[in-house]
Symmetry: C2
Subunit: 144 residues, 2 copies
Amino acid sequence: MKFPDIAEVARRSGVPASTLRFYEDKGLIMSAGRRGLRRLFEPAVFERLALITLARASGFTLEEIARMFSPDGRVRIDRQMLSAKADELDRTIRRLRAMRDGLRHAAVCRAPSHLECPTFRRLLAAAAKGVIRAPGSAARKRRR
Amino acid sequence: MKFPDIAEVARRSGVPASTLRFYEDKGLIMSAGRRGLRRLFEPAVFERLALITLARASGFTLEEIARMFSPDGRVRIDRQMLSAKADELDRTIRRLRAMRDGLRHAAVCRAPSHLECPTFRRLLAAAAKGVIRAPGSAARKRRR
DNA sequence: TTACGACTTCAAGTCAACTTGAGGTCAAGG
DNA sequence: CCTTGACCTCAAGTTGACTTGAAGTCGTAA
């Protein structure tokens, strides 16, 4: 399997063929050539896809991921960006912990209404203060 | 300000008026009545919005959030569901922590290329194995 | 050599969560 | 009383990340 075709890449990476075409279209991956109409990929595409998957799972947009690669196709990771993203994940984790604790508490709380429970109210206060933001919002560009 | 109008609620909650109408449409909040055409809200709507914001920030869909309220508008006491959600969040948190550590490491790693760094490669391997999922997917229902 | 099925392209559809726009209503200040 | 501007409704548009469908091409097994 020197040069896997799209089905092989899909099978081994778990990324659907339609997504692979989509990614190629977006410049995230490149096919090494064609046999007839059919794409052939370099084996290195698996690493590339793993990196894309990792980045996506870390909250990077495809746009941002595309900027992680130089035009020549090599990885060009900006340490500053990585740190920023790690910080963002930290904030997300804190958020999720708060929510988890809130749920956990709500599940056992005997207060007549959760809204009357001090623990729950503390969480809500944090949310109301805007400490807490929707996921992805920090990474998203302001439009307009 | 016994019964704030939509502008007041928007101002004090930080949630845009268009979103408040949208939420009402989706049954996530309810207006207490109208003055002419204009909605008036109970002050309790702020708490409700805080809860919605918190849940959204934790990766819950509006659909799921809607199910967190009983038809009467109170927080539902389905302890089983709450616990399940909490467990789900725990898994997500673990995932994000791993990711954050990986990013943190990559940001300071001296390896000539991240692809040559053992720590990074370990993460990539995990990503390739499908251990890692896109954000939100943990809380989201599988379609199809 | 022919049939088949796996690939191809390109446009359009989907989904969540909103936002925007057109056209309408109406309470309050001048 | 009349204007004004903030509110209203409802439909359609937006964004990101894909998926689906129709129509076409072509490598390979029989």
